[in-house]
Symmetry: C2
Subunit: 431 residues, 2 copies
């Protein structure tokens, strides 16, 4: 390393530490700010976003131009783009968050001990949260708003391609904080989009309490590998829909097509269809035709290929890796299984513990499935695309957690809290 | 590395993987075992412990002999030793755990959405837990019992000095499992007490869901550094008792002496006394004398040294590192502070987020302290030695978690669960 590089690195390190220290101080203020103060900041930030529409679009235009010059894919450019509608959606999202009940200071349980001690378990903010995400500027507003609502400070590190757009959005959030009399340092971003800043963020355990990575497998695995701070994981959604022998045909057909094709690119989209051999001959042809008509590419095991062929539909052979692939695209792998047990076994082996569905009219089979499938969300007779904080009635979400520690399933403001025990005595000493 | 060493390492790796795979399979069975079956296993294990008292004492005698030969300290030998009373305590502990309500399958909340979907959040086991602890054989029974109660499989790795004792206890637990018709692989230990086995355990994320280290700072930091699996931390208890200006003198005196001296070696023992300057001159001399009489070594800041000297008590000067030291011994650091704000600042800087206490008759000061101090347990007018799952009414505990993710404070059977969302529909597809 050259002397200049060492200087730069040391400089970045001290900048990141200042950032962390300021975040910690801001978190101490936010942790006991009144709900109405936080809501005022959220609403003021929404107003700022609307007022600064032109500046946001101008900053985004530069990011988009650079993105095109770098030949980003159409999908990435779509995620990166801001429009007046998207800016309005961010602003409305912040107002929605403001309208939700405050998640901090709730008495979760309360009891008295024979010693006379009164014990209460009360929700508190997590502290300082580091959020690392891809080049989707709207996440800056959504995640920042949820952290603020839940009394946490956040260090928001979006993908480098969205740096100007994210910075402009963050300015609006900080103005909102200042207008409500809260420290703007409650929401910050690293001074550079250099990857080295992420590396430092992941080791600042003195200043950062939790890391939330949000993005693809590569990002999340890097964070898990490097982080010395607890990580709340949002991994893949490798979701299955299982059509049981006692499924009602029309229901199953509609659910499967919706689960795959409504929006094939979201994490709750179904990637593999499992169907019982007892009904595959009867039910599979219609489902496969619906899917093919909707533009879905199919990859089947031997049995489903044969059934497809019998119905005049040529399906590619699924390879072993298909069962472990999150396509996030209009592609579906299809496997015929012997029954409930084999379906559960397949899902527990290949699933990502995100969202799994069974279609059946047999209540006992449904309950067995829901009990034995190891996933954050298990659905009976509905589409896996319902895996969403908004659809759950939780308001905005940062994502769907696939870990088992702390939050599992949709992560909204309530899931960004911890708790403490308040113990009230009258002079008790322990015998 | 020699060819032999490579063979041995590969052999250990495949043994650990078999262990992990077997644990995963056993966890799948335990996750939906009936509460009564698990309780039957716990009671049968208690019976086994009593029946095998002689074998347990014989195995322990060998561990003790080796420990003496290795010149273990008296404190370590005390932790290592089994006696008929301690064996009975382990057995009774398992029966207590059996008598507690089952923590699995509880409906934590339930609601219906406008879409007609019925959503329930239900507690489920974590899965496979790796527990790494020091040479305290009783932890094998306590931790193993709590994991079994909560439907988890566990890989129990106690310190190498206790290998024979722990193995003998584990035999009893496995017999209990088998008698109840449950897979004995639900509770296992690594095939060797070689540290390499721990290294492997910490990377087996396919088979292990959570790591719980229980022990000193060195152990826990090593685990945090090496683990690729989420860690539920049980770090130091650097606890404070703060005597506020409005403290009632007799209450404060009794609480401080109990908080330090009842059992100076437990994690809830107070390590630092903070006292307001407004009452230090009046209240400190009596407290310091009580402590000195009880055999406590005192280390004070300048003001408390001066007050001590005025009362005829010579106190050593506290060094800067004293404020960051968990003595786990009859030693107390003492600092006079300006008031509430400085006390909170000191605690949030030097504390380990474990347990913190204020003594005051001023309700407003007490509430401010309880709100602003960042710790798992915050106590008003009682001894910090109440930081204990049993005293909280939670039954046995694995320890006190100082992390903010997942469990905080005492970790009992309930804290060893996660949850899943069960979503029940009638054919809903998402618009």
């Amino acid at each position: 390393m050259t002397a200049d590089a060492v200087l730069l690195r040391d400089d970045l390190k001290s900048q990141m530490e200042s950032l962390g220290r300021a975040a910690r101080q801001a978190a101490a203020v936010l942790s006991h700010s009144a709900p109405e103060t936080k809501n005022q900041a959220l609403r003021a930030a929404a107003t700022e976003l609307r007022r600064n529409q032109e500046e946001l679009l101008a900053a985004n235009a530069k990011d988009m131009a650079d993105g095109r010059a770098k030949s980003l894919t159409a999908a990435l450019l779509d995620r990166l783009e801001l429009t007046p509608e998207r800016i309005e959606a961010m602003a409305a999202g912040l107002e929605d968050i403001a309208a939700f009940p405050d998640p901090v200071g709730k008495i979760l349980s309360e009891w008295e001990r024979p010693s006379g001690l009164k014990i209460a378990r009360v929700s508190v903010p997590l502290g300082v949260i580091g959020i690392i995400y891809e080049s989707r500027p709207n996440v800056t507003a959504d995640a920042g708003g949820l952290c603020l609502k839940s009394g946490n400070a956040a260090i928001l590190r979006g993908g480098s391609e969205s740096a100007r757009s994210s910075a402009a959005i963050l300015d609006c959030l900080q103005t909102g904080l200042a207008e409500a009399g809260l420290p703007p340092e409650a929401l910050q971003r690293p001074p550079t989009s250099d990857r080295a800043a992420v590396g430092l963020l992941l080791t600042m355990s003195e200043w950062v309490d939790v890391i939330i990575p949000r993005g693809g497998r590569g990002l999340i695995e890097r964070v898990r590998e490097e982080s010395r701070i607890p990580v709340m994981s949002h991994l893949d959604g490798l979701c299955h829909t299982y059509v049981h022998a006692a499924a009602e045909q029309d229901k199953a057909r509609a659910i499967v097509v919706n689960a795959k094709m409504r929006r094939p690119g979201i994490c709750g989209a179904t990637e593999t269809l499992l169907i019982d051999q007892a009904v595959a001959g009867e039910q599979l042809p219609a489902v496969l035709k619906d899917l093919a008509t909707a533009g879905c590419t199919l990859r089947g095991d031997g049995t489903s290929q044969a059934i497809g062929r019998g119905a005049g539909l040529e399906i590619d052979a699924a390879q072993p890796e298909d069962w472990d692939t999150e396509y996030l695209a209009p592609i579906l792998s299809v496997r015929v299984v012997k029954g409930l047990e084999e379906a559960i076994e397949h899902i527990n082996r290949h699933g990502s513990h995100h969202t799994e569905a069974i279609v059946t009219e047999d209540q006992t089979a449904a309950e067995t499935f829901m009990q034995q499938v190891d996933a954050g969300i298990v659905i009976h007779n509905a589409s896996t695309q319902y895996a969403d904080g908004g659809e759950f009635g939780m308001g905005a979400e940062i994502g769907i957690s696939t870990g088992k520690l702390h939050a599992r399933g949709p992560v909204g403001a309530e899931q960004l809290t911890s708790y403490k025990y308040l113990v009230r005595g009258s002079g008790q000493v322990r015998p």
